[in-house]
Each structure stands twice: as structure tokens, then as C-alpha cells.
């Protein structure tokens, strides 16, 4: 078993990690913009 992200070494695990972070940030941005639009 390798330490890193999702049991993968950092050189590959970082790809999955940044993907998840981008997904969450994208969702937060859309929610904030959606609320602004409604106002």
C-alpha cells in the first residue's frame, strides 16, 4: 500500500486530488452566483 491520495503515490494521487478540489470549488462558485442572481 502506498501513502499519498487514494492509496496512490503523490505523483498520480495529486491528479485525483486536484480534480476533486476543482469540482468542489466549481460547485461553490455556481451556488454563490446562483444566489447573487436571485437577489
Amino acid at each position: 500500500m502506498t501513502s499519498g491520495f487514494m492509496h496512490l503515490p503523490w505523483s498520480t494521487g495529486i491528479g485525483y486530488l486536484i480534480g476533486f478540489i476543482a469540482l468542489i470549488l466549481g460547485i461553490i462558485y455556481a451556488l454563490i452566483k446562483g444566489k447573487e442572481d436571485k437577489r
Binding site: G15, F20, A30, K33, G34
Partner: protein, 506 residues
């Protein structure tokens, strides 16, 4: 019931359903705006699934899933990262503005938008020529993949396989226009997502779960000699000539980046934003689309490396080299071996759906460029009904051109398809994305950057690609962006109306 009979039943039922959706779309396709954009009335789920299923084709299912067998986890990990990033970017930075812009300007196509934004017909003509040539060639790959797949799974000749794939698409696009394309895209997207997740879960069940599978892989000897740990590291494993040159890392990262970065400029993706009912649809799509793209890419693309734990159970070690040479065969092999009869017929339909959703969307962009941006420009007074009738028949003609090229594809076909994809992905990014925000973007900057990025992709493919293994879209994008900015800087700015519109954000 035999597997073959069940596969036929699933395929026929699926095709009939798609044709029924096509007929349902007819009512809303009696005007040009209806035929090209479904009267701009699509909701968030339809637009999002349509974006997803258009983006990810048969190549994503077979090639995307199989390439991890060759490049290890670096492939799914970085494809996941870039797919999410380049799904989020167009939805945040292009969708809201282009929807409002094009509705105000009554623009129906991407070249049409360029003509209004840059107040220049030459930009429109050059954009249309790039679309018509590059997308026609781009379709050959999907026809070839579907012909090969159906030849094996339905036991029909290769050409018949392509026709089973193509003819329903042409019928529902001809009859129902964009509304039919969007609705079939939605159903096809649901099938793709369900198929991908089911296959991933079965693979996980087979290898004992994600962490147990990775632990097993790190103990494995690939083909009896290479330590399985190489599959876990970036740049650890790859095609033999690239491994020898020590360039696997840059090959993997540049390929993943190139495939995903193209999302920003692909006209058959961007046109979905035109058809959204309102800005609220765009906001919801911003959330839905990256989630479904991420789910599909994570599940399907991550299957490849785990296949090293499954395929050796069924084939001799010396036969594994065949899967390394042609990773597109990995997913069909797993479907055949792991899935029970019935479920594998469902997966076959999901893969056909992946290809059809992309092809129908490309055909729509092609016919709209031909009718709106070539015919209507050459004959401005042409009757709308006449033009609409021409458009429907153009669907059939433009859909069949790549068919003839795919019947006996030349050996160089994969190079041409890669080049066409690079051209279409790099030529429009700067005039579209930067042009939506930067008031300094000019017509000369737009059309010259399109020509220069196209020329760069051709030059790079012919001279450099097989020396440095960096995909041509990357130099194409760089040249396109730099030339657009530099030339715009020194040329005449657009009129006050356009400048005001950009300043106001719509």
C-alpha cells in the same frame, strides 16, 4: 436466449426509442431557430447531459477506459483532473456570457457569433471552413470504432456495423433537429453513465475493492517481468518507443491536457449554451455537468490499470502484449468476461449511445455552419422554408461523407483525426474566450489567429509530434492566443456598440 440475440433485441429497442424521440422533436423544428437551437428552451438536465454525452464519445469509453492499461493510474488521475477543470471553465467563463450575447444578437451558430462580435464576414467564412473540414475528418474515428465494435458484438460486416450506428442518427437529426439531438443526448448520457458505473462496480467487486486492488497491483509482475508498481507512478509505464525515449511523463500529461483543453473551443459543445432557456439553467448546469463528467471519467478511466488483475486470468502471458499494443480492446474484453448476458448487451448499447450522441451534435454544427454561414451569406434573401429543407438534406449528405472515408480508412487516418481535433480545439479558443471579455479583440486578430493556429497544428503534426510526443493542440493553442492578442493590439477596435456590450458583460 443467446447473447447475440439479446444484443440485437437491446440494440433494436434502443434505436426505435431514439427514432421516437426524433419524431417528437419534429414539432419544434419547423423554423431555423427551432431546428438549430430547439427555440432556446432547454432545461438544466438536458443541457448538462447533452454537454456530457457530446464531449465523451465511443473513444472515451473504449480508448479512455483502455489507456489506463497502458499508462497506469497517471492516465485516469490526470484525465479526471483536466476533465473537471475544463468542464468548469467553459461553464463559468463562456456559458453565461455567450447565452445572453447570442440571444441579443439573434446569433444561431458559432461562426455567426464571430461575425456579430467582430463585425466582419471573413471571420465567419474562415470559421465555417475550419468547422466543415476539421469536423468532417474528426467523425471518421467514431464511424471506424463503431464499425469495428458492432462487427464483433453483433456479428455483422464492418460496413453494416457503421450503417447500424449512423442511419438512426441521420434520421432523428433530419426529422427533429437540435431538439431531437438534445433529448437523445440526454437518454444516451444516462445510458453511458449507468453503463460506466456498472462496469466499474463489477471490476471493483472482482479485484476486492479499490485499496485491495492497488495493493495487489503493486505486488504483481506485468507480463512476468515488470514490477506492477510502475502502474501507480506518473511516467512509470507507457508505449515502448516513448518509454525508450524517457518521455512517458510529458506524453501522458500533454495528451491528457490537450484532449481536455479542447473543450473550451469545440463548437459542438459551446452551441449547447445557446440553447439554454435562461441564466438559471446555466447556473444549474455549472453544478450538474462537472459532477456527471467527473463520475464517468473517474469510473470508466480508472478501470484500465485494474484490468492487469483480470485479463491475465483469461489469457496467456505472451498474449498480454496484444492489449498493450491495442488498449482499445481492454474494455470490450472485460465486458465480455465479467458481465452476465443481458448486462453486456446493455453495455453495448451504452457504447453505441456514446458515439451517436457525439456524432449527432457534430452533424448539427456542420449543417448549421453550411446553411447559416455559407448559404445564407451567399444568398441573403433565401426563403427560410427553402433553407430549412436544404438544411435537413444537408444532414444526410454531411453525415455520409465520412462514411465513405471510413469504409477503407487509409493507414494515416489516426493522424488525420488527431490533427482535425487539434485544429478545431485550438482555432476558436482565443477568438471565443478572450473575445467575450477583452474589448481589444479585433476581426483581424480573430481570423489571422484561426489560420495561424491551424497551420501550426499541421506543421507540428508533420514535423515534430513523433519526436517530442507533445500533442499539436498545445502549440496550436499557444500560437492562436499569442497571435490573437498581438494582432488585435495593432488593429482597429470594434464599434462602440460591441465595446459597450462587452463592457456590460452581455
Amino acid at each position: 436466449m443467446s447473447q447475440l440475440a439479446l444484443s440485437w433485441i437491446f440494440v433494436i429497442a434502443y434505436i426505435l426509442f431514439m427514432l421516437w424521440l426524433g419524431l417528437k422533436g419534429y414539432k419544434g423544428s419547423k423554423t431555423l431557430e427551432g431546428f438549430f437551437l430547439a427555440d432556446r428552451k432547454l432545461g438544466p438536465w438536458i443541457v448538462s447531459f447533452s454537454f456530457f454525452s457530446t464531449l465523451l464519445s465511443t473513444a472515451a469509453f473504449l480508448g479512455g477506459g483502455g489507456t489506463g492499461f497502458l499508462l497506469g493510474f497517471a492516465w485516469p488521475a490526470y484525465m479526471f483532473m483536466f476533465n473537471i477543470i475544463f468542464a468548469v471553465v467553459p461553464w463559468i467563463f463562456i456559458a453565461p456570457r455567450i447565452r445572453v450575447f447570442t440571444e441579443k444578437l439573434k446569433s444561431l451558430t458559432i461562426p455567426d457569433f464571430f461575425a456579430f462580435r467582430y463585425e466582419n464576414q471573413l471571420v465567419r467564412v474562415i470559421a465555417s471552413i475550419v468547422i466543415l473540414i476539421a469536423l468532417e475528418f474528426n467523425m471518421i474515428a467514431a464511424y471506424k470504432a463503431s464499425g469495428n465494435l458492432l462487427q464483433v458484438l453483433l456479428d455483422v460486416p464492418y460496413v453494416i456495423g457503421i450503417l447500424i450506428f449512423l442511419v438512426p442518427v441521420l434520421i432523428y437529426t433530419f426529422v427533429g433537429g437540435f431538439k431531437a439531438v438534445a433529448w437523445t443526448d440526454f437518454i444516451q448520457g444516462v445510458l453511458m453513465l449507468a453503463g460506466g458505473v456498472i462496469l466499474f462496480l463489477l471490476v471493483m467487486q472482482h479485484v476486492g475493492g479499490w485499496s485491495a486492488g492497488i495493493a495487489e497491483l503493486s505486488k504483481l509482475k506485468l507480463m512476468g517481468k515488470i514490477p506492477g508498481k510502475v502502474l501507480l507512478e506518473l511516467g512509470g509505464f507507457g508505449p515502448p518507443p516513448i518509454m525508450k525515449a524517457g518521455l512517458v511523463t510529458q506524453f501522458t500529461l500533454s495528451l491528457a491536457f490537450a484532449i481536455c483543453a479542447a473543450n473550451i473551443g469545440l463548437p459542438h459543445l459551446i452551441i449547447r449554451f445557446y440553447a439554454a432557456k435562461n441564466v438559471e439553467v446555466i447556473r444549474k448546469g455549472m453544478i450538474i455537468t462537472p459532477i456527471i463528467i467527473g463520475l464517468f471519467v473517474f469510473t470508466v478511466y480508472s478501470i484500465g490499470p485494474f484490468a492487469w488483475l483480470i485479463i491475465p486470468k483469461y489469457v496467456a502471458p505472451e498474449a498480454l502484449a496484444q492489449f498493450v499494443r491495442d488498449p482499445d480492446t481492454v474494455i470490450p474484453f472485460l465486458i465480455q468476461k465479467l458481465l452476465p448476458v443481458g448486462l453486456n448487451a446493455f453495455l453495448l448499447v451504452a457504447i453505441i449511445a456514446a458515439g451517436q450522441s457525439t456524432i449527432s451534435s457534430i452533424i448539427m454544427v456542420l449543417v448549421s455552419a453550411l446553411s447559416r454561414d455559407v448559404i445564407q451569406v451567399a444568398k441573403p434573401g433565401i426563403d427560410e422554408k427553402k433553407l430549412l429543407s436544404f438544411t435537413r438534406w444537408a444532414t444526410v449528405i454531411l453525415g455520409f461523407v465520412p462514411f465513405f472515408l471510413a469504409i477503407k480508412p487509409p493507414g494515416i487516418v489516426s493522424v488525420i483525426v488527431g490533427l482535425a481535433f487539434s485544429v478545431i480545439g485550438s482555432a476558436f479558443t482565443a477568438p471565443l474566450l478572450i473575445g467575450l471579455y477583452w474589448r481589444g479583440g479585433t476581426a483581424q486578430g480573430a481570423w489571422i489567429s484561426m489560420i495561424l493556429s491551424t497551420a501550426t497544428c499541421i506543421w507540428w503534426t508533420l514535423i515534430y509530434y513523433q519526436k517530442v510526443w507533445i500533442y499539436p493542440i498545445i502549440p496550436g493553442l499557444i500560437v492562436g492566443i499569442v497571435s490573437f492578442v498581438v494582432i488585435s493590439w495593432f488593429t482597429k477596435k470594434p464599434s462602440a456598440t460591441i465595446l459597450e456590450m462587452i463592457k456590460a458583460g452581455s
